[in-house]
Every structure is written in C-alpha cells, then in structure tokens.
C-alpha cells in the first residue's frame, strides 16, 4: 500500500519540479512550486513526520511561495511575455547534473545503512517541542535571532531610500 503512494507522490514532486525549472512563465513556475511543496508534505506524512508536514504546508506553501508570487508580480508583467527563460548553458548543465545524479544513485545504492528496527509511527510534536526547549535551546534561540535579522535585513534592503 505504501509503495504506490510513494511513487505517486514521487511522480508529482519530480514532474512539478521539472516544470518549476523549465516553464517559460515564471508565474506558472511558482504555481508548480506550490504543487511540488504539497507533494513533499505528503512525503513527510508517509515518513510519519506529522509536525514537519504541517510546517511544510504552512511555511513553504503559505509563506515562501506567496512571497515569491508577490515578488513575481512586483517585477514582471504577467501577460504572456515570451522571453527566453533559460540561459545559454542548459546542455552542459544537464550533462553535469545527469552525471552527478548517476554518481549519487550509485553511491546511495552502494552504501549500507543501518536501518533501525522500530519503524512504528509515533507522535512527534511533543518530542520535538521538548527537544527545542532542552537539548537544542541554544540553536533554537540563535535561529530566532537569524530570522529576526533576516526580517530586518529584508526590510532594509528593499526599502526605498
């Protein structure tokens, strides 16, 4: 039962991702990105990461992609501009990526991972929350500051002089 779901999700992710990088209309790309993110969120569910799936939807789909769409709208005319969206190196890029991909797959299949025994699903929200407030409290605080700095930085950069 799981395997077909995985393949469906995988197909959605890969196809939408391909559209994201190849579509001429950047707005359509953004829409495809949303689809891709949804697929990834589904994938998280199959991995029993319920909290992460929710975060994925909330942050990526709800915030980042919307932000992107806003940026697109601020910088482009939406209606059918047939300008070239790829630069002059798609072929070498495709070649190098293909070789990279082959190498990655080869190394993944060659590596023997120690798979844990207990693969039963379990609620994660409580554990993650505790971990943030205890073991990972320092990175947690730092990442909060990073976010704040990024926020202020974005405002400062984009502000009209």
């Amino acid at each position: 039962m799981e395997l077909p779901i995985f393949y469906i999700l995988a197909a959605i992710i890969i196809v939408s991702a391909l559209f994201v990088v190849t579509l001429r209309n950047i707005f359509h790309s953004a829409l495809m990105l949303i689809l891709c993110f949804f697929g990834v969120a589904g994938l998280y569910v199959t991995l029993h990461a319920d909290f992460l799936a929710a975060v994925q939807v909330l942050i990526y789909v709800g915030a980042v992609t919307i932000l992107m769409i806003f940026a697109v709208m601020l910088t482009q005319q939406l209606t059918g501009r047939k300008i070239q969206q790829l630069n002059d190196q798609p072929l070498p890029a495709a070649l190098i990526i293909l070789s990279l991909l082959i190498l990655l797959i080869v190394s993944i299949t060659r590596t023997g991972f120690e798979i844990a025994d207990n693969l039963e699903p379990m609620p994660t929200v409580g554990t993650i929350g505790k971990a943030f407030m205890t073991t990972y409290v320092l990175p947690f605080e730092i990442v909060s500051v990073v976010l704040l700095v990024a926020l202020i930085g974005a405002i400062v950069i984009a502000r009209r002089e």
Binding site: Y60, V64, Q85, A93, L101, I115, G153
Partner: protein
Amino acid sequence: MATLDHYLILSAILFCIGIFGLLTRRNAIGVLMSIELMFNSANINFIAFSKFITPEALTGQIFAVFVITVAAAEAAVGLAIVVLMYRNFDIVNVDNINFMKW
C-alpha cells in the same frame, strides 16, 4: 514498502533538478525557487534518515525545522535583493548582472 533508498534517490533527483534550475534559470526568482527545491530535497533526506535510522531521537526532524527557518530567511532576503535589483537596474536576469568580471 518504500525503503530508505527510495527516499534518498527521490531526494537526489529533486536536488539535481534544483541544481539544473540554479544553473540555467535566467530569472532571479526562478533561481530562488530552484534553491527552495534543493532545500526540500535536503529536508527529505533529513526526515528519511530520522525515520529509518534514529526513530526515537527525531534529530533529523529537528534539523529540518532549522533548515526551513533558514530557507524562509533566505527567501525573504533573496526576494528583497531581487526587488532592489529590479528597482535599480529594471531587470531581474542574473546573467545580465555580470559586474563580477574585470
């Protein structure tokens, strides 16, 4: 039953697609989107490892949260730069921004 390899290979494919976008997209926003794809592939890796190797500790999931946070910050700053670029040069094409040569 989907194994760890399935997830890793999927993540590798997604990562490569992201790289392809990064290398070929002329539009700066497109480049940013490609980067988001790569972030996502990394997250898939994290969570897959978390699920298959350390199911109790959830370390991978916690790192995924951090990655998402950084990605959000990156997106905010990156888009701000894009907007600024558009305002100053009237373009958002990265290959036109080639001041980095002599």
